[in-house]
């Protein structure tokens, strides 16, 4: 199935009932901040056949690592739906996520890196 077909199907599903594709669940298995970057694991692409269409779309999308917010936007599903799908895919080993950064504000050394990155844009 092509990306276009997958996305079209997701879009139709979503119009019907957004949380149908998560089995009605609205909370992911793990804490996934909106900026969490998701990447497909080498095993993930090899295990596509075990997945439903929606999860397959996430795995194919995240071959190019991207944030939870991007997954939701690109697949036209609400944020929480993307979270639940990704949470399940982390558990099954199809995708991996970066370690969440400290829950408080970023520290000075990280801010310095951000500033340097902005300066060189």
């Amino acid at each position: 199935m092509s990306h276009q077909d997958l996305s079209d199907e997701l879009f139709r599903t979503r119009r019907l009932r957004p949380y149908l594709i998560t089995g009605g669940r609205t909370e992911p298995r793990i804490d996934l901040p909106i900026e969490t970057i998701v990447r497909t694991t080498p095993e993930g692409t090899a295990m596509l056949s075990t997945l439903n269409h929606e999860s397959e779309a996430v795995v194919m999308l995240c071959v190019a690592p991207q944030a939870i917010a991007e997954i939701a936007a690109r697949l036209h599903v609400p944020l929480q739906v993307a979270r639940v799908l990704v949470g399940d895919l982390v558990s099954s080993g199809h995708v991996a996520v970066n370690e969440p950064i400290a829950p408080d504000r970023p520290q000075v050394h990280l801010l310095e890196r951000v500033l340097e990155g902005l300066r060189t844009l």
């Binding site: 276009q4 949380y19 900026e35 970057i37 970023p106 500033l115």
Partner: protein
């Protein structure tokens, strides 16, 4: 692939194969299975029409994307929008973009509506954020009050930016500072949200301010 040909937003010649159709802009190519960059985020706040999406789009590597968040049952209780509504009945759409700062650092910029009733989204976006930029439309000061109060209460570093529409600076920064009752420690800047360099300058000012806040933090 049909979607490649009917994209209306031009200027992006990426050859990335992993992005599906309906989004407007494919993700820039990233080596498959490489270590993903560390994400950091900044929230761009402001009332309707203040230029949030314009500012995000001015500096983002991708054309701004839109997603929607559903209000949780708990938030609905706080918000008093009806009672007994299902979770998907109240949603808010918001735009965002991203800027690759280095091979191992990705900055996400989230535009957030300033209204109090979208507080649930605010809290989510501000959690762990570097800080926030409040875009002020000087013809509608009152739309900035909610965002400024909320940021002051939550202790999130922020800067206030006057977006001079059509080059017309309706209010001097000092007047804006006074109108919003901002202490001298909060930077008030003037920047055209359409101008990439101006937006870059604002983000750098915010990061510097955030660094000063960290340094000034007791303990």
């Amino acid at each position: 692939m049909i979607w490649r040909n009917d994209r209306s937003r031009g200027g992006d010649s990426t050859t990335d194969l992993a992005t599906p159709g309906p989004s407007d802009t494919p993700a820039p190519p990233v080596a498959p299975h490489s270590a993903p960059p560390l994400p950091v985020k900044i929230v761009i706040a402001g009332g309707f029409g203040a230029g949030k999406t314009t500012a995000v789009g001015a500096i983002s590597d991708i054309a701004p994307l839109t997603t929607e968040a559903a209000m949780t049952t708990e938030s609905i209780g706080i918000d008093r929008i009806g009672s007994g509504q299902s979770k998907r009945s109240t949603t808010v759409a918001f735009d965002f973009g991203r800027v690759q700062l280095s091979t191992d650092l990705m900055l996400y910029l989230f535009g957030s509506p300033g209204q109090d009733r979208f507080r649930f989204l605010w809290d989510e976006l501000l959690k762990g954020a570097i800080g926030a930029v409040v875009l002020v439309d000087t013809t509608k000061f009152e739309e900035s009050f909610g965002a400024v109060s909320h940021l002051e209460r939550s202790g999130v570093p922020f800067v206030v930016v006057i977006n001079p529409f059509d080059g017309n600076l309706a209010h001097h920064p000092d007047a804006v500072r006074e109108a919003l009752d901002l202490p001298m420690t909060i930077p008030v800047l003037v920047a055209d949200a359409r101008d990439r360099n101006a937006v870059k300058g604002v983000l750098m000012a915010l990061v510097r301010h955030a660094m000063a806040c960290v340094t000034a933090r007791p303990g």
